[in-house]
Symmetry: D2
Subunit: 330 residues, 4 copies
């Protein structure tokens, strides 16, 4: 399915894998400041239900017409957000009066277009009502939950049958099912895992030994289910060590998400159909740079928000570089 994670060195980074068996056709997409989004539901404070982005946004999107359907993005202020599959648990609401009625596909531009910080996002969330209105017949509502983060922390947003949940996310990670609270609870079962070698607590009378390096994390799950990916990426991220230069940070970030890479063949979703990590992203939220790799291209590609005119009228779109870019050394 997908995994999102945050990482802090000198700058604040956030990114995700998108795992699926086919791509909708995605592009790195910049939404400039002042870009108008027409909301599907009437909004008491907005003329003609149009809100205009205060902040420019860069992220991965399927662009439908002139509408960027973002999977994950950051804005120029350093706030980031990603939507991840939440099949069977996401339940959106009917329109409610007195609330900001935001349909699921509007959620990312609504938050990133309006909020400079996680704090501001929380305020906006306090009056939100997430609705089920689909983008179009061909693009039905996606069952999602979200991670929203800046350098001060991260939260998880889940709209379920019992209402909207907003959780602190101290790990700075999100995968898919089960709901976030259960994922967090599950970490208790792994509290003994460590990057250091284990000591013999089994018996003083037996001369057990560590026959390999790396035995301190025996018990860490290695499969591709969403619960196992959550535990694994949490362990990897919480222990990640890197220099704080841009290249070292970005490199380490891709190693962290590499721990939950879905290899073609290991997750068969139908006969001969395999879910793979279609792309992996890493945003420098502090500097507005969107890095990505694709399944067939290990080289990291970068798109810099601030190299574009952020006060333009139109979306700025970069099709993904998807073929393996091999450097020929001779």
């Amino acid at each position: 399915m997908c995994t999102a994670v945050t990482y802090q060195t000198k700058d604040f980074y956030m990114g995700r894998t998108l795992d699926y068996e086919f791509s909708y056709g995605d592009e790195v997409t910049i939404t400039p400041r002042g870009y108008g989004f027409v909301l599907r539901h009437p909004h008491r404070n907005l003329q003609e239900n149009v809100f205009q982005t205060k902040y420019a946004i860069i992220g991965m999107a399927h662009v439908a017409g002139a509408y960027p359907l973002y999977y994950d993005a950051i804005n120029e202020k350093g706030l980031g957000m990603a939507g991840l599959n939440f099949v069977g648990n996401a339940v959106y609401q009917e329109e409610k009066e007195g609330k900001d009625n935001i349909t699921q596909f509007e959620f990312i531009p609504w938050i990133l277009g309006n909020c400079a910080t996680l704090e501001e996002a929380k305020t906006l969330l306090s009056r939100i009502n997430l609705t089920k209105t689909p983008f179009s017949e061909g693009l039905p509502t996606s069952p999602l939950h979200w991670i929203i983060a800046d350098e001060t922390g991260a939260i998880t947003v889940e709209s379920m049958s019992d209402g909207l949940h907003i959780y602190d996310n101290p790990v700075g990670a999100l995968t898919n099912n089960p709901p976030f609270e259960q994922q967090m609870f599950q970490l208790n079962n792994y509290m003994h895992l460590s990057p250091k070698q284990p000591t013999n607590q089994f018996s003083d009378e037996l001369s057990l030994h560590t026959y390999s390096r790396g035995m301190g994390a025996l018990g860490l799950p290695g499969d591709l289910s969403s619960m196992s990916r959550f535990v694994r990426v949490a362990f990897t991220k919480m222990h990640a060590v890197s220099g704080d230069s841009e290249k070292e940070s970005v490199s380490q970030f891709f190693h962290i998400l590499g721990s939950v890479d879905q290899q073609r063949g290991c997750c068969e979703v139908a006969d001969g159909k395999y879910e793979i990590t279609l792309y992996t992203s890493c945003c420098n939220a502090s500097k507005g740079i969107y890095y990505y790799t694709t399944y067939e291209n290990h080289q990291i590609t970068a798109v810099h928000m601030h190299r574009e005119n952020l006060d333009g009228k139109d979306l700025i779109r970069y099709p993904l570089i998807t073929g393996e870019q091999i450097l020929e050394q001779n």
Copy 2:
């Protein structure tokens, strides 16, 4: 420590990760045909104990003087070989009369320089005696075991206290401890793992469900110990699916070895010292191309053996490109 694996599409591929807390300074090194190696032990059929390579070799080596100390390599005939740490189990022999007395660091050039096929390698192995003579005081004997492979199959070679063992390696994978037979045996405990979703065998009376994709491999170990890496890379490789073009094959190969990538921070070998995947290699053994990535460079770099003069006198050496090569899309 390390993981080696083979992969067959249209061509035959072989490669490995090298995991350690520091690098000795490694280079992609081509040994031309006819290059002379002075054996440390007298050899009945060789004048002045010098053997000359019949076949050119390309691989990763620490070059000491003009001597390529290969970690892993292929030759121009499509035979490949890699040495992996085997600490606590590798026991080399004293010189024995009537045998080919080959010291540990000579083993890779001896096999790849002399043999065109795995079959020929087996013949040569039938009269080998692996000795403990170190390269120099500063470069003591490494405790290793080896995988040797071509498109017909793979074998594992282990010199232990009870003598030399040569095993068929039907997985085409090798990590470190415990000895190979035990690694293979361990796979029996994971025979139920599958890329397909599990079915409910727990109870007909309970409506259990697969709440996530990828649950068929629940139980696959996710830590960095050598036994867990063996199981994980075996599962990933045995199920790997890719196109058979060069780029697709190479890309998939790096995804397979990505499943055992050692992230900095997750394997602490001393206070603040971390074992990481220093480099990952993928050789197209059929075409003589050595691909590699380094921990700090996700882009794949290639060195082509056949673009060089393989009948030259000297080693041809390519220092590694180690910094992150980011493609700037704007």
Copy 3:
């Protein structure tokens, strides 16, 4: 902590282990019909807040004065109930008007004294409010949750910070934390476990084999934590096979709960203090027989409700036979 389970052959059985580091002094206790319980909270329909048991009850209790503080019990109609530790999750309520305000220690006699069936219990539960009033200063409120069952099924009752939850319990098992819904969810991760041997799904190309019987349940947790006990006893119970005679049923029941026996030494709760299975019970709810073993007595002891005068005035109490009753065959 504790494990409860139900079992159906010709008759309906229910029982539990009680795991702790010391005993409060427990006795098999029969409460006769018409025994008066003074409720701690006023009740609109009861004179002087006294309710009289319609049905006689047999179970394990700490008797304080003339008050049976039941841990687990059945009534003469075949309804059973057990309270199990639920530390950190049990939250009882303040008294509420319009409800049956029942304090925690009154809950078992309230249900078993009033209800002939699970269906009736559900009706009574629909107007219950579980309160925190302690029995006495020396016997503070226990944080518990409950399983209630008869031959038609089982439910779990949990009073938490977000209110009272009543769940169907299709497994007919209960341990401790986390809350029941999470325990049930966890079973999804074990759906592939089977009493039958696994088949090789790892790879067609590897000749893996089942080197031992019983490999179909590899992955079943073996530790004493409450989540692991839940999974283990669920697996054992769902697959349990026995004859349906009284002796065969009872014997099998003790084998089922034996799978979660806590051995002295394996769960250290303070220096040199160990939680053990103080007693294990098995009630034939259909016939009113209470069977038990204690940690130090493997022989099964039985107390038959219907061998007593169930219309008497006083509690009938049997101190436990706790020493090992060894049959000397010569």
Copy 4:
């Protein structure tokens, strides 16, 4: 299959479970001193190949004619021995000159009839050759390995394709496959398990908590395969705590072996056929008492060797008490 274990308090105890899908008809059998066993192979020092037991033996046996085919036994000197299934690995030898040629079914009487101590047993083992001669056509050779123990320690004896192996057994436990050295090695993977609660090593930044007692052994396997039973019984035994009185010791011993009890239904060996723990034994080797329970009888039954005439001529046999002996308390 089976599990054997030793236990030391004031006295030395040894016992086992015998797990199978049917019984051959077993009896607690005492072989008196001076009982003659005709060896199947000629022996250089024995007249007519008959050896006479120096020491009386008590154990569980299938008696064929007047021949006790022991599964497990102790002798009056405190030496014990048990044979456990070793399918696929046990390889017996052809008769060899100059050796004590002992066939598999003679092994237990040969050792226990001749040796007072483990030390003496080791001496006798130094010239043994285990052969494959079957007892009769109807009772073919069993593939077994053995544990031999007294209060000074324990050893494991395995006759395999590469010869006879005698290992120190510091755990004092044996199950079935794989060979003992691999079982011991496997314990390294569990060295972090503890009866104490785990501490949070996953991350300082996450407030993980122990939501249940007994979480220190998370990762202990709970299934019935022989490798999992070995790890589980080793953990249970190494941490076992009990008083040292006879009753406390025996009670604890049965709790230790209870951890590997095979419940009917959990190990299906053919359609509707289940391997169960047919009997569990506990010998006080110091005092010559054989305790046992059967699957259908939880009460412990005892047979005392020293209550019999150990200088008699004939085997003394006690059929097992197999029905549930329930103590009726009212």
